[in-house]
Subunit: 192 residues, 4 copies
């Protein structure tokens, strides 16, 4: 099985996820400033989730670039990632309607945590197929940022019952950390 159709299908699903999320930013009821500002929390949460999905798309692109062949394990690890990404719009909408309340903030953290874990498992599945000494294995290395992201999202989710503001700060921190472009794979491939 070629990786091109897997990449195209993943791109399609991610493009749809990033776009339908905006459907949950409901149209304001009324035509005045109060109506407009009432959707501000939805819009802010949408921005954050948009950035996360864009980061995943970017990293996923780099990841698949290193893949030589796709097997059943990689395929299902990829579908598993897409599943958790597809749940993010619902968590985003809930968070947007109840910004900075404990449970929605915690659930939003779980919705960020699960794709991070799924991405980690996809990396493992690809390394498993290509060998521990492959380009990818060297490129990803200790995957420091991936592991930090999992820890921060988990911490954010757990802390939501103590301080939703702190949780939100951690979620934003992870996004900022990734906006610095992930150049690891490009570097190593460039050297080959």
């Amino acid at each position: 099985m070629g990786k091109d159709r897997l990449a195209a299908f993943s791109d399609g699903v991610i493009a749809i996820i990033i776009t339908i999320m905006v459907l949950e930013v409901h149209v304001p009821h009324g035509a005045d400033w109060a109506a407009l500002t009432s959707v501000a929390p939805n819009l802010l949460t949408y921005v954050l989730s948009f950035v996360y999905i864009a980061i995943y798309w970017n990293n996923h692109h780099h990841l698949l670039h290193t893949v030589a062949r796709v097997d059943g394990l990689i395929l299902w690890a990829n579908s598993h990632l897409l599943f958790w990404l597809s749940v993010l719009p619902v968590a985003t909408a809930w968070m947007g309607q109840h910004l900075l309340t404990p449970l929605p903030t915690a659930v939003y953290g779980v919705a960020l945590l699960m794709p991070a874990i799924a991405y980690y498992l996809l990396v493992r599945a690809i390394i498993h197929r290509h060998g521990e000494h492959s380009v990818l294995a060297k490129a990803v290395g200790a995957d420091f940022k991936g592991k930090i992201s999992i820890i921060l999202c988990f911490a954010g989710s757990a802390l939501a019952f103590a301080s939703p503001w702190l949780s939100m700060g951690l979620y934003v921190l992870v996004a900022v950390m990734w906006l610095v472009p992930d150049l690891r794979i490009e570097k190593i491939i460039g050297r080959e």
Copy 2:
């Protein structure tokens, strides 16, 4: 007509189906645990349907890989399959709102049965075009799993009025059966 655009269009439709299904997992009303757990049935049904669609995407990919040329019959058999897959989100949402009640469980079974029949018809249309002695015909062979799936989905749908739990068990069984990767076509092509 080339198969590439048919594959791309099918991938697009399947990617959209698998993603818009999540729109039916409604955002919880309220910010507490009761609100959250109220959407659990929707989420569970969504997981099952997601797996089914992913299986169809995977199998469809393998199937088209064997196709040399597309004619009108194959095209419409493919559109017929896409139609039934597109109905699954509605059946999933109904099932999610009325988990384990007889009629929605039976209708969900029909919504799983119809794509299985449509897939079988697509296989027949492709074999009809390429000949009974083609690679595909040999690869699919007796299509044991395909026929078993049709029987199990039909049984699940019929038994829903007696025991919705049993129906659900059968639907899950079919999904598990396919999660074991379908390696038949790969094997035969590998040998050529």
Copy 3:
């Protein structure tokens, strides 16, 4: 400008249109037979619109196959077609909620008529670019079926105020007429 990206974009839009239409087949309210049968009109209208969109996708594919180069006129004629196709889901939903009432039936006819006109204009734009003596011009010829479709959809729309049943019969007739695969272009190209 290459035709490949135009084809890919059009395929994407058509794939989304054909799929989001199902979102208007609302989930039944309640879990009994009465609830289920109440969505039957929506489902029936959805089937008809699905077939129409699938026909357009198929014909559009054949049409673009003959195109050598894309200019601004073709591009906007194509966007014009996509616009009218994108309106079909709304007309379908209205029709589904008020099956066989005069105005929705007439508007549905208009929603079928406009893409037919837009398709005709796209054909003209392509012939204009490639010359009256091109393969396409010969292949499409008098475009009997295209013109008949425009007349029948117009007639169906106008007759809706007299007999919605007759209108619906005409709409179905056009769909059936196109399900017979459009082999004109393939034949002429095959002969070249």
Copy 4:
């Protein structure tokens, strides 16, 4: 990173945006003329936004055609553009429900202004990567139309509190200005 996947992903997102916008053209409540005419404002706003998105798709296509390589800056400038385009459906729906009232008209103008700015930034990011003396830099030149669009959308947004009709006239003017095909890049590339 190749530009092909960036183009494909952007096309996917734009195709979805242009299509889901129609979901906000709600199905009329009732089956009479009053119900039908009540959705006319939504439909009119939809037409305008559809034309804007189609223009962006067209220009974006030409723009990427000139790109040789994609870096992180271009990638995020592109995601930034897609973000603002994805907000347009919400602004369109609000405008459609409150046609020619000050605040929604102003916000709609902002929703047209932001992608125009984002597009300008994307052009700058691409020029930054390829050099001020590249084909693209020469092709885009002073980017007169791009800057005029930004000014007109800004003016339209600001004037909405004085005269929503004037604002709407400016928004339509910008669309008309771009419907004249953007042939600048084609010309210069043709000459190389």
